[in-house]
């Protein structure tokens, strides 16, 4: 009798606690559906995004969840797009209809994001795109799509803005520019942007040279470049051609004030290994670097590295910021009604603090849903002992503390 009454009391107490806890959270869980490439060729980047989301959500939940919703916790649901647009669309339908998610994020591959956001728009579910670069994703007049990262055309825009700022800072005159790019989709797309920007900026284009990425010898291109005598060279290259061009340019003593490249081959570790000191002083444009001079960046990166064994990168930083953006939005919408969330998203001005590690100050969306402050950063390659450092130089507010960029680069 004594035993059973004790047992009964314990059971009752347990049921009560569980019951209340269960009751409390049932109504107040925010379901976030994430469609990411977790297998297939872009799996590496999808998994980085997943880890960053998890870290951010853990932090947010540990700090008491969404206070405006009575401490509601964030819950992450994943689906694997495999990098395939058809799978992405089906998964978006499932997330919305079966899982009843409140928000969606994803999908990294522009080809997946493009049709998937269309599904979300049809159901009126807010969709946050941390990274997907294709311009048109936010150019279809959709109401529920919000992108954090910079879009494709901004890369060339920022390359020119960088050049302009450097000219001003160092008082160097630049008149003639040359474009050297691989003749694929990527290179010719960049060249199209450069041509317009050069015209607007009043530069004289002395060479506009596409080349086949598979060429066995690029000396002819370099000879041409040398004769054209440009002040600044813009380049878009894959790894092999970046090595050939950089080494041959150094050997033939092609003297220019600056070389501005577009990531890709120039950001490949084997490029730095093979081009060595010939690559020094090159300017390369990227989304984000670990050495950015931003408050809280180091602590967050260290935490992430201790947890996952790798540094944060452009993709994971935007995924991390997306979770804090969701928190900020829900605190303001005070409701899980999609229309209210959408309204709060459109009115976002999230600055510093939790998203202080971004390369720019505030997340703010324009009418198309594009984060209008999203920027890219420019790094300069500098020799450091036997290796090459990628030092952030632009925008000036994120420049590595104590570093002065070398512009124009010394004559060879």
């Amino acid at each position: 009798m004594r035993w059973s009454s004790k047992f009964m009391a314990a059971t009752a107490a347990l049921t009560l606690t569980l019951g209340t806890a269960g009751f409390g959270s049932a109504a107040e869980v925010v379901k976030i559906g994430n469609i990411e490439p977790l297998s297939g060729p872009s799996a590496a980047v999808g998994i980085q995004g997943q880890k960053a989301r998890e870290m951010a959500v853990e932090e947010i939940n540990a700090a008491g969840g969404i206070k405006a919703l009575g401490g509601a916790k964030l819950q992450l649901l994943y689906s694997d797009s495999k990098g395939d647009p058809t799978v992405g669309v089906t998964e978006a339908e499932r997330m919305i209809n079966s899982e009843k998610v409140h928000l969606l994020t994803g999908c990294w591959n522009s080809a997946v994001t493009y049709p998937t956001t269309q599904v979300a728009e049809r159901y009126g579910i807010p969709f946050i795109v941390p990274v997907s670069v294709r311009d048109t994703i936010t150019e279809r007049g959709f109401k529920n799509i919000f992108r954090i990262a910079a879009k494709d055309s901004w890369w060339t825009r920022d390359q020119f803005q960088f050049l302009k700022d450097m000219q001003k800072e160092f008082g160097t005159d630049v008149k003639k520019v040359a474009f050297v790019y691989e003749n694929g989709d990527w290179g010719t797309g960049f060249a199209e942007g450069w041509r317009k920007l050069a015209k607007a900026a009043g530069f004289e284009v002395v060479l506009d040279e596409p080349y086949p990425s598979t060429a066995s010898d690029l000396t002819p291109v370099v000879i041409k470049l040398k004769r054209a005598k440009p002040d600044v060279v813009f380049m878009t290259s894959n790894a092999a051609d970046a090595i050939l061009l950089t080494n041959t340019m150094a050997e033939m003593k092609v003297n220019v004030k600056a070389i501005i490249s577009s990531g890709g081959g120039h950001a490949d570790p084997s490029f730095i290994a093979a081009a060595g000191k010939n690559a020094e002083y090159l300017f390369d444009i990227v989304e984000w670097e670990t050495d950015l001079n931003r408050p809280g960046l180091k602590a967050t990166n260290d935490k992430f590295k201790a947890k996952n064994g790798q540094n944060l990168n452009g993709e994971s930083v935007d995924a991390y910021a997306a979770m804090y953006l969701i928190k900020d939005v829900l605190e303001r919408s005070k409701s899980l009604d999609p229309a209210k969330i959408r309204e709060a998203l459109a009115a976002t001005k999230l600055c510093g603090g939790d998203v202080g590690l971004l390369a720019y100050d505030c997340i703010e969306f324009d009418q198309t849903g594009q984060n209008k402050n999203a920027s890219l950063v420019v790094v300069q390659l500098r020799k450091n002992g036997n290796s090459m450092d990628r030092i952030t130089v632009w925008p000036k507010n994120v420049r590595r503390a104590g570093y002065t960029p070398v512009f124009p680069q010394p004559a060879k």
Partner: protein, 294 residues
Amino acid sequence: MLGFIESLLNGILMGSIYGLTAVGLTLIFGVMKVINFAHGSILMVGMYAAYWCVKLTGMNPYLTLLIVVPFLFCFGYALQRYVIKPIFDAEKDVREPITVIIVTTGIWYVLDNLAMIFFGAEYRVVQTSVTGKMIEFHEMYFSVAKLIGGGITLLCGVYLFWFLKHSRTGKAIRATSLDREAATLMGVNQSQIYNIAFGLGSACCGVAACVLIPFYYVYPTVGVPFDIKAFVIVVLGGLGSIPGAILGGIIIGIIETVGAQFMAATWTELLVYGFFLLVLFVKPSGLFGLRQDY
């Protein structure tokens, strides 16, 4: 004008290296009537061999010729003896052994992927005493490594030509390439000649590999662009002709480099293949080809 001279010489130098690779291909074809699709991969093997020699011992890149060329001769010899010959024997009575061509394609894939497994996909460059050295002449720059490389390949081409013309083995090789049965009846050991021809063809790749190393990078599929060029050059110069291969190589090199001064580099490929088609149209047997049926 300066740009023209600069690119003309550069084209000749680069072209002679293409030419030597093509010589190896044309030699093997001339004797065995087999198109060796693994030729570029053999070049790749040679480049990795030369790369590791220089990287590990720090020796002069041109001294590696003494190691890499014999190594590739043996490599080619063994490849023919133990991999290709059994297939070849099975198809003895066929005039154009198709299966052997497929086998060489298999060797190409196996070698390229083995290199990928062992050495990884990264681009490797080695610093040698001539890397990055340039000769300046009236505002024109010429790469020392390419000058030496062009010289060595031309010498090799001349030596190989002399060897085939005057040495006993060379005569046996030519006899076999002219008429297999007749040569066998005259006491030429046919399969031995095949082995030697394959070895020599591979050794040509060895020379090209050693002279490329000081100014080029190595990666597992480095042979592919050279391979495609070699096929065009061999047909352009005339199948089986050694002077044709060297000259064809130089012509392609000049078109590529000089052409690029007047148009976008992408267009020079069109020029190369346009010229190629024109030659085939006017002289289907190629520049130096004999009017005989191989």
